[in-house]
């Protein structure tokens, strides 16, 4: 039955249903009282990068190879390799700055890192009061332990751990095979000064 004004009345019915329903069905209200309650972000959620270390902050996985600095689209990473007194490069960074006001959270640095050392954090409360240099994160801010990584991203961290373990085992197996081959070669050839 189509009477003039029907659309108007039906519209009122819809809003009335929403109004009354919002008191009885709590899942109609989609907001939470931030900052007292926080919505749990999913595991894959990414905000800004951080560096992973395994045992202590002095031994990060990062070797300062600068691949992430080159691949970063907005060029927000700045790395300086640590060198010892003679100028020989130690395979770790002396300075590692990420300007998170430039970083666009694209995750390309994570994908291209060959050492699984830079990963994405999911902490989003990074506001600072200062305008100029407060949003640059330096090496001490960025280093976080592997336990923290396992805590925020369990599935991903488990995969990374398995991969690193497999790589380490493969390397150890290769080294053991090389040592065994060298020992076999040494045993096969006569020792010096015994033949003649």
């Amino acid at each position: 039955m189509n009477y003039p004004g029907k659309g108007l009345v039906e519209g009122l019915a819809v809003t009335a249903r929403n109004f009354v329903g919002s008191y009885f069905y709590k899942d109609r209200l989609t907001t939470v009282q931030y900052p007292e309650e926080r919505i749990q972000t999913p595991e894959n959620s990414r905000t800004f990068p951080f560096l992973v270390f395994d045992e202590s902050p002095d031994k990060p996985r990062c070797t300062a190879c600068k691949i992430c600095e080159v691949e970063c689209p907005p060029k927000c990473i700045y790395i300086v390799m640590d060198r010892d007194d003679k100028g020989k490069p130690l395979q770790r960074p002396k300075a590692f700055d990420i300007d998170i006001s430039v970083c666009m959270q694209c995750q390309i640095c994570v994908e291209v890192c060959p050492f699984e050392s830079i990963k994405m954090d999911n902490d989003y409360e990074k506001s600072k009061y200062g305008r100029f240099n407060d949003l640059v994160q330096r090496l001490p801010d960025l280093l976080k332990s592997n336990d923290y990584y396992r805590q925020i991203k369990p599935v991903e961290a488990a995969e990374v751990d398995a991969k690193l373990k497999a790589e380490a085992e493969a390397k150890a197996a290769k080294k053991a095979a090389a040592v065994a081959a060298a020992a076999a070669k040494a045993a096969a050839t006569p020792p010096a000064g015994s033949a003649t």
Binding site: L8, T30, E71, Q105
Partner: protein, 380 residues
């Protein structure tokens, strides 16, 4: 610039002058930093000039300095409402140039993402249109509730709600596990209920009908002549949908209809979007049912040092706003030589003046809302 007030000469007719007003760039109803210089005769619009460029961020120039993959996050920020479609257009263009074949599971995943993106874009677009009409936020917030669910799904899959950076050349970045597929199925199951409620609220509402019908008519010949694409063109009667013409991805194997309107006014553009949402739900149901197992990315694509053979090519998709195309010229190196985007919002804006002349000022705002522009795309 304000014209002088009208003068009444002694013993003669009243002379009036035309008024030149600039609507924007800061304005609650212009969908971004966009300016329209209108020339008014009393209440009626006599001429209109869109002024763009307030959001120009030099995207095309930046891409010439970055690797092929490095531009992918920047394409998210073009039409920031649906980053998935933008990613797909760029990936399609590169794959065409480089001759990469995409595995089937990845194609299905791409369709899921693009159609979900279309759903939330159309929902917000009509929400914003009705907000401009004057309904104080109610339809907009209902649409945003559905959009929240889709954005939560995007966050679960790719890590970010809007700037997903999800597609890669030859596939997608992250595979969908069963939990994510269940989430997508739940969204698709609940969406028709929202559409029914929304239609009851707005589609037969007499005030909406009075505001939107016979306002801003775009004739079919003008739509074709102006290269208009997307729901705007289909509302005017142009039967063109790239999903049916190019059949990219797995769209050739899916069954869905493309609604086409007859009159081409604001109401048609609004209702075509509602119908398109229903068709997208149909597509999603088919895809979620039939998704095969398999790899998610072509294995021969390198992450670093990716090079494309010499040549040029154009890849396009049916984005929710129209035809989004990427024209790439490669010299065989790791960076593009020329990277050009065909933005649908920008091209759809060229007929704004023809649609608005003769209508009142309040209508000009609604007509702009019905074209559904995003300034990130218009200005790049």
């Amino acid at each position: 610039m304000i014209a002088a007030p009208s003068t009444i000469p002694a013993g003669g007719a009243i002379t009036t002058q035309l008024l030149e007003v600039s609507i924007g760039p800061q304005h609650p109803s212009t969908h971004g930093v966009f300016r329209m210089d209108v020339v008014l005769d009393g209440e009626v619009v006599r001429a209109l000039k869109p002024v763009v460029g307030y959001l120009h961020r030099n995207h095309e120039q930046l891409a010439e300095k970055m690797s092929w993959l490095g531009s992918m996050p920047y394409t998210d920020r073009l039409d920031y409402f649906n980053s998935m479609s933008n990613n797909w257009a760029y990936a399609l263009a590169v794959e065409k140039l480089a001759g990469i074949k995409v595995p089937e599971r990845a194609e299905y995943i791409r369709v899921i993402m693009a159609e979900l993106s279309r759903l939330q874009n159309h929902a917000s677009a009509i929400g914003f249109l009705l907000q401009d009409c004057g309904a104080w936020g109610t339809p907009l917030l209902y649409a945003f509730k559905e959009r929240e669910k889709i954005l939560d799904f995007f966050e679960t899959v790719s890590g970010s709600r809007m700037m997903c950076n999800y597609f890669r050349f030859g596939g997608v970045r992250v595979d969908l596990n069963d939990e994510m597929l269940a989430m997508a199925r739940k969204i698709v199951a609940e969406f028709p209920k929202f559409l029914d409620e929304f239609e009851k609220l707005m589609t037969t509402n007499e005030v909406v009908l009075a505001r939107c019908q016979r306002v801003g008519i775009l004739p079919k010949e003008l739509a074709i002549a102006g290269s208009i694409s997307g729901p705007v063109a289909r509302a005017s009667g142009v039967e063109y949908d790239i999903r049916k013409v190019d059949k990219y991805g797995v769209y050739g194997q899916l069954e869905f209809g493309v609604p086409v309107g007859a009159v081409g006014d604001v109401y048609d553009r609004y209702y075509i979007r509602v119908l398109e949402m229903r068709e997208s739900v149909k597509i999603l149901q088919q895809v979620l049912r039939d998704i095969p197992a398999g790899p998610m990315q072509a294995v021969e694509v390198k992450l670093r040092g990716f090079k494309i053979p010499v040549g040029d090519g154009y890849g396009r998709v049916e984005g929710p706003k129209g035809e989004l195309g990427f024209y790439l010229v490669s010299e065989g190196g790791p960076k593009p030589y020329r990277y050009h985007i065909r933005p649908p919002s920008f091209i759809n804006l060229t007929v704004l003046e023809d649609m608005c002349v003769g209508h009142k000022v309040a209508d000009a705002i609604i007509i702009l809302g019905s074209i559904d522009i995003v300034l990130g795309e218009v200005d790049r």
